[in-house]
Amino acid sequence: MKKIKFLLGISVLVLVVYITSFGVMAADKPPVVIGLQGPITGPYAIEGEMAKQCVETAAALINEKGGILGGRMIEIMVVDDAMKPKESALAAIKLISKAVPAVIQTYGSSITKPASDIYERYKKVNIAYGATDTVLTEEGLEYFLRTCGRTDTQGNFFAEYVVNVFGAKRIAIMHDNQSFSVGLAKNTKKALQPKIDAGEVEIVYYDAITPGESDFTVPLTKLRETNPDIFYFTGYFPEAGLIIRQARNIGITCPFVGGDAALNDEFIKIAGLEMAKGCLMTQEALLKDIRYPEAVEFKEAYNAKYGYIPSSPWAVYAADALNVIAYAIDQTGSTDSDVLVDYLKNKLENFPGITGSISFDEKGDRIGTGISLYVVTDEGGFEIYNP
């Protein structure tokens, strides 16, 4: 009798699942739902949270002006990928199964890659906001675009400008084996090659640390022994904060430059202001320094809701991704991915985004992004470096 009751219980459960899955399918949604993938939990939650808030702010601005496709409101469906490749694939699978017309995805090139593979396979237009590895657009993906820049631009900037500013001859480059970091390191090395061949500079250290660790004294000791004039770290901010502290503690005194994923408020918090001030980074323009009318409007709206303006440039690229995709849907009157991709790559020109004018090339890259050199001020802010 007990067993029969038990079996009955299980069958009821199964039936409930059955019926609800039918039911969910039947409802039709008037709003246009755009997917957003990001690291909402985990060590990179600060990026994911800001991206979510930026995209929602941008959507609210559009909705206030009347929405798209004749009055349909934009809704954002956020899926967490915790900055892990497997979670990213799962997030992509989930968003595809929910049949959203487009996806804005994610922070971290190594996390973007598996998602973009899945979106490509299922033919879903996806725009990246925090993935600058050159490899992503070199493999002929049709449905992938990005509103952020590429690491070769950054590598060139380091080689041309930063090295000159500090008159550095002995260069130490440290990465963390993840796609973006490796890509930036490689591109920097490539950009430095002409100077290396001319005998002007020398790369004295080129190695990796393991992300997720907390003790880097061993590789840092090796770096110290090579006596560099400048230390370029191309990894991410959780490690960067610890690295600068440990580096200074064991006696590395040369200028510390981070790539565009290495320095932010979390970095300053982890490293402590004492160690963080004076550190530099090669970075796309921060929102506070952008003056376009769209940027001003966005800053006001975001500040009104949250009390500060976003410090991450990537979150702002996410907002721009939303602006651009909403515009494309509105202009083409369609939510079909092929139509949207064709429009974005071939017909969109000089769309006024928060971060400037947006157009995409055939590969899906954004045309015309720039890099600056920022320094951490004594108060813990970021300013453009004046040598």
Binding site: S214, V218, I270, G272
Partner: protein, 303 residues
């Protein structure tokens, strides 16, 4: 030479963290034959409690007691809280399961581990937290070319002090003999008149307390703490326990220190990336060729 000495010092510091955590594992396993998977997360909890006390209450503590006083106060408070939590965990999650055998105990311990880890995440947020600079002493001295922070010295001194006290209790007092007896054979010990409940209370209070102290120290040393740190340290500390001989208290201390040094030297001379692999291979070799660890006793299997 400089590198070797620096890394030796590092290894000792990390080793003392492992040792303090390993003591908790060893005591519990020795007496209860239970691998307390939640122990690592108790250590993490200690770290977070220290964070709360120091960083969030920073004005009060450090203004009254100074940096060092603040650290000691944080460790004491963390230790006491962890002792309470540890005994609660035992009472709620483990005691009802003893009659059901070993496997349900493992699942229960895993459940507690998941619960604690996520409780930390819920209370303190999913982002890693930092022991900010103003609560961490940064003074250092130089011996030759080697830079040793005062913090490192204090940590080493404190750890050895705690281990020394525990060693004394276990080896030289009657109560310690009672603990050792219970570890050897719980039922006979009970028959001999030893109050097992007191023993259990002691190990589940002291083990986590030591772990909590280690947590505060780790927080000050590395400055960055996250809610997943319990798992990593827990596993290494457990390896240290095995290395020293499970159930053997001095063994846990030696195992911990040895593990720290092995890990550091392995990372310098073999490979930084594979240092954890190296540690685990050592563990497996020890288990295959000398399962009782360095100091453990041979235990015959009863038929």
């Amino acid at each position: 030479m400089r590198v070797f000495l620096e890394q030796l010092l590092n290894g000792l510091t990390i080793g003392s963290f492992y040792a303090l955590i390993a003591l908790g594992y060893s005591m519990v396993y020795g007496v209860m034959k239970l691998i307390n998977f939640a122990h690592g997360d108790l250590f993490a909890l200690g770290s977070y409690l220290g964070f709360t006390i120091l960083v969030l209450g920073t004005a009060y503590i450090t203004s009254y007691l100074g940096l060092w006083g603040g650290m000691i106060a944080a460790m004491l408070i963390a230790a006491i809280c962890l002792a309470v939590v540890g005994t609660l965990v035992e009472r709620i999650a483990y005691r009802p399961i003893y009659p059901s055998g070993r496997l349900p105990a493992v699942v229960s311990a895993l459940g507690v581990s998941i619960f604690l880890q996520n409780a930390i995440m819920v209370v303190w947020g999913p982002r890693p937290q930092a022991y900010i600079a103003s609560v961490v002493p940064s003074a250092y001295i130089k011996m030759g070319e080697i830079r040793i922070t005062l913090l490192q010295i204090i940590i080493l001194v404190l750890s050895f002090l705690l281990m020394g006290i525990l060693y004394y209790i276990i080896q030289k007092t009657t109560f310690g003999a009672a603990i050792r007896a219970s570890a050897l054979d719980r039922d006979t010990a009970a028959l001999m008149g030893i109050n097992i409940n007191t023993i259990i209370f002691f190990i589940f209070a002291l083990g986590p307390a030591l772990g909590g102290t280690a947590g505060v120290m780790v927080g000050m040393y590395y400055r960055k703490i996250s809610f997943v740190m319990g798992w990593n340290y827990g596993l290494k500390a457990f390896t240290a326990t095995i290395l020293g001989g499970i159930g053997n208290i001095p063994g846990a201390m030696i195992g911990g220190l040895l593990l720290g040094i092995l890990e550091m030297l392995g990372s310098v001379y073999i490979s930084t990336a594979y240092k954890d692999v190296f540690v685990f291979i050592v563990l497996i070799l020890v288990l295959i060729f000398r399962p009782r660890g360095l100091l453990g006793e041979k235990i015959a299997e009863k038929v």
